[in-house]
Subunit: 189 residues, 4 copies
DNA sequence: TATGAATGAGAGTTCATTCAT
DNA sequence: CATGAATGAACTCTCATTCAT
């Protein structure tokens, strides 16, 4: 890890924290610079604009999430176990990374979120999507549209993570397992 | 309906449309005024500030939603039917009012959403919460925290409504009924 | 006193209080209306504009002051006694009416104060000026320009009244008399 | 003198001129920027707000005035000569710097003038106050409250300077000396 | 690479004034 | 006479972005 990517990461981290706390609108570039301990100008060396910075942050968080999911992937297991593991990992990742979950959620709910911004992450998403497709074809899970499945897994997990971060619900391992079970039962055929 | 509440409503409507399209940050007060066909200054006659305007919009949408849910309420039916009807109505309301669903979702994902902003709506939410409580006690639905139940019903419905509005998924009556059935099966004991 | 002049007076009184507390700039017409217990619009029935309202207030305060001075006037006394009494009354009036003193001072220090605004009060000021002129000619007081004499009497008194109102100095009767004596000694020949 | 303090000074100078001409209320930040030949935004780099700018201007003028008075200070002279010189310098400084005198006067007559704003200048005022204190104790000048002495010297000088600037009175050296003599005679024991 | 002073457009908000009622 | 909703220009202040150093 060289100095360049260090500073880039520091800026991204500062942006993540500030936007989660104050929203897109409440997060001025000058504040990001102060939080990151760099000058305002240098941000424009690493990112084209504020919009670009936010998009890059989103992409990097999606990339990290997808890497975490792929790491748990085991092709030697049965497809049912693979899918089950996938859903479990999605839940656990969101709950373990509430800052990331919160940002992704806020981003997706905002006008920053366009088809274009998502197409860049297709490469990371593809393996997971194709796994889900296979499971549908083999009759392991219900034949629902991908979007519906994504909502019931990814989005539900992210929402619960945020509610947990906000102190609105207590989530112990037992409850998490129960929820994962409920979702799995709801999706499986 | 007198002129005063008319203009107030017009301003709220313009705010809803613009914020859904451009986000909180992308929606200037002057644009709201232009969209509503009023002067910029008069907004401050009806609302204290931009933040207040947004909060009032949120409150009014929550109130409308809750009224819609209460309208479908029938105490003569069995509790199971009541709960089932409630979940169905939540889905249908969100899908029928995508603008409201989208705004509520964006609001809840933003730093505007605080405990304080929700406490004002407690009066509308209470009857529904108590109905769910009763269902839990009578063993009709699973004994999950209210927040988890809210995520699996209200938030899932709102998310699907937005995905539908964004053209990401086709939701016909058959599919809606299937999803309602899935959620109901997941929650019932 | 009819209702019309009542309301006019109430508006003037509200303006006096608010401007002394918040300055010209900090005193909106709507606040004057609220303080006076009238609508914003009606002020424009009694006064042409905010500037006019402020000018009329200034004029009315100058008129009251001058009337107070003229009331103490006694042509049967010696000129020396008349002048001495005049200076004493100026002091006492300012100290007894700190709100008026404060406003006049703030007005005179502001760009509202023009030659034009003063010319309207010439009728009230004339008798006093001519009395001072006579005293100068008869060698009772020093032959200083009128402006210098006004500063050493009127303005000094107003300043002391304001300092007293602000709690910066304690002014008992003894001290007031001492100051009056000092000023008189300084001006007399 | 570096560029930073240059621009700060230019802004302060522009503010002084405009406020003397148009008052606090009539002096918009945008006008100050234009007069100073800078952008509107940069003022907020040097000053927190309009209020802060005005306070800083007041403080800098008080500081300059006090430095001018201290420069004329000569401890080797008799206390009587020191005091006399002080009063003379106050007069001459005010008459030589009518812009400063006018602003200080307008500021003191406005609601901007608070105890807090003055406490920041105590360090500059202290030496002069203690000199006056000593003179009172030694029976050189009358035992009047400091505020009264300040009014009769500082404020009278500032008022005369403004009247002179406004063309209301002609002040030649002879007259100035006469007035200084009158004030001195009034204060000395 | 890195800084931070500088820009200027545009934000939210205020307010003197008007006018239909 | 009286109201107060309505206007819209002008205000203070912010902020993404640039650029000389």
């Amino acid at each position: 890890m060289n100095k360049t990517s260090d500073k880039r990461s520091i800026i991204l981290g500062a942006t993540l924290r500030l936007i989660n706390e104050n929203g897109f609108h409440g997060t001025a570039m000058s504040k990001i610079a102060r939080e990151a301990g760099v000058s305002a100008g240098i941000i424009y060396h690493y990112f084209e604009s504020k919009d670009d910075l936010i998009l890059e942050l989103y992409n990097s968080l999606i990339k990290e999430l997808m890497n975490a999911l792929l790491k748990g992937f085991d092709n030697s297991k049965s497809l049912e176990d693979q899918i089950k593991k996938l859903f479990e990992d999605i839940f656990r990742y969101n709950l373990a990374n509430p800052q990331a979950a919160m940002f992704i959620r806020q981003y997706k709910a905002s006008p920053y979120y366009t088809h274009e911004s998502n197409s860049q992450n297709q490469q990371y998403i593809d393996p997971i999507v194709s796994c889900v497709q296979k499971a549908k074809k083999q009759g392991i899970i219900k034949d629902l549209p991908d979007t519906v499945i994504a909502v019931l897994t990814m989005d539900v997990a992210a929402l619960l993570a945020q509610r947990y971060s906000a102190g609105l619900v207590e989530l112990n391992d037992e409850l998490i397992n129960e929820i994962i079970g409920i979702i799995w039962d709801a999706l499986k055929k």
